[in-house]
Amino acid sequence: MTTILHETTYTQAAPIAMERGYKATKINVDKLNLFYGDKQALFDVSLNIQEKEVTALIGPSGCGKSTFLRTLNRMNDLIEGVRVSGDITVDGENIYTSQDVIKLRTKVGMVFQKPNLFPMSIYDNVAYGPRMQGIKNKKVLDALVEESLRGAAIWDEVKDRLKTSALGLSGGQQQRVCIARAIAMKPDVILMDEPTSALDPISTLKVEELISELKKDYTIVIVTHNMQQAARISDKTAFFLNGEVIEYDETDVIFQTPNDSRTEDYITGRFG
């Protein structure tokens, strides 16, 4: 797959983004099809995700946006009977021909819909990934844990209780520790699957502020059901419908002057 072909696909998908596309491509998805057994869930999805931007994926339930997100770090591999065709490259490297899933997942981190901290201490949760990579030095781990928790804007709230169970935190705190846990891996990309849908409005606000902060250092792809959220925090937005990308553009364009009438219908609340 050559770069030229990627550019072509990109042009078709998002002409305006192309004009303004001054940032480097981080993830390129080309004609991605995904099947659960016989059922096709994604149809010829092509997207070009820019470095150090927030890309939001919106669309009604069951439109394939979460499925798509999970192809980016190959979490769909866990489901029996899933087949994928097409190309996804991260930094130009095809992630489906490469055998090293572990390397991919250290580079492309993920935050899930519900906080899924392990039943261990806050410290052990954040140190989990680095330890799995073989880091044992306590000083290195201590520094990494602090840096990650600071990065996720939760350090001040938990610094006195690092050794207590992470499950004693509130939902919003847990989700920020989940983000810290992802950051501790020093990934390039963080995927977020509706990270605030289980949180109260104040926690949601904190996580949103955090996301805006994180995009200075990370490429973020976020699935959200909350359209205001997409409008507030994202640079680009892709609208998914029935497994297809209907429109992909600058967030302002999608929300103010969408090209496709279906996008407009969805955004104005006529369906979904």
Binding site: M75, L78, T106, K114, N116, L117, Y128, Q133, C178
Partner: protein
């Protein structure tokens, strides 16, 4: 209007009566099992405590003396206590790792189609009557040991351990598999998404999260091993010595009761009940310790 109302009340009255009756019925059933427990325990303790309460025999002596010769009025169960402990610990040493790894394989690693065949097969193992395990041990394991270890008699502690280990497998596998499957999928995904390998995920996240269920599996397996009688009689050899090696013939507590209760009378019979008390206490203590352990882990 009025008549319908009265009819309704009548119907309701019947419902309430039925309701009251059923809840009483359930209570009676529940009490029945508690009553049985109290009856059995009470009876065993009453019979077993008699020789010691009367002051004719010392309980300490009963526990730690090594001679069991009822005809000479000597009742010491130390060899049997040791035999029971060795047999149970030995069975755990083999049965727990094998059972746990099997459970992990079935719940985490095996493809669905394989687990679908293996799981029920292992559960079926639990349904085999224990005497058949004994017969299997006697016909296969005992001659095997006899021939390969050059023993005079294959009936030995190691034969007991092997049979008990096989017998506790289905319990350990089934209960731990259930515990492992109950670990939220989110933990697994969270770990894998952090770049952990599958085996790393299993041992660092899933098994620790399923710890209390796995300990419960061990307790149940333990209960089965220490209380097993029929299979053990056939392969133990039943010699009344304190075992010093795996190849010694042994007589665990359970088999002592089963072998002699048929003809015992008087003090001899009471001493067998006392053996039962010791056995019962063992199981209670082990259950207690392990339940403490599993609570401490949470």
């Amino acid at each position: 209007m009025d008549t319908t109302h009265t009819d309704m009340t009548k119907a309701n009255k019947r419902k309430y009566a039925l309701e009251k009756f059923s809840s009483k019925l359930f209570l009676v059933c529940a009490l029945l099992s508690v009553f049985s427990l109290v009856l059995i325990v009470g009876f065993v303790f009453y019979k077993g405590a008699t020789p010691f309460v009367s002051g004719e025999y010392s309980f300490i002596n009963f526990l730690f003396a090594s001679d069991w010769v009822p005809s000479e009025d000597k009742f010491g169960i130390w060899p049997m206590i040791v035999a029971s402990l060795y047999a149970t610990i030995g069975a755990l040493v083999i049965g727990v790792p094998v059972g746990l790894f099997t459970a992990i394989f079935l719940a985490e690693i095996a493809p669905k189609s394989v687990a679908k065949i293996l799981s029920p097969a292992i559960q079926l193992l639990a349904g085999i009557p224990s005497v058949l395990y004994g017969v299997f041990g006697l016909a296969i394991i005992v001659p095997f040991l006899q021939n390969n270890l050059g023993l005079a008699r294959g009936q030995s502690l190691i034969a007991v351990i092997i049979v008990l280990a096989i017998m506790m497998l289905p319990t350990i596998v089934t209960v731990s598999e259930t515990a492992i499957r109950a670990v939220p999928k989110a933990y697994r995904e969270g770990s894998l998404a952090l770049g952990a390998s599958q085996i790393g995920t299993i041992f660092k996240v899933i098994v620790p999260a399923a710890k209390s269920g796995i300990l419960a599996a061990v307790v149940l397996g333990l209960g089965r091993a220490i209380g097993e009688t029929m299979a053990v009689i056939l392969v133990a050899g039943n010699a009344l010595i304190v075992p010093t090696s795996l190849t010694d013939s042994v007589r665990p507590l359970t088999t002592n009761i089963a072998l002699e209760m048929g003809y015992a009378a008087g003090t001899h019979q009471e001493m067998l009940f006392a053996t039962g008390i010791v056995l019962f206490s063992f199981i209670l203590i082990l259950n207690f310790v392990l339940s403490k352990l599993s609570k401490g882990g949470q």
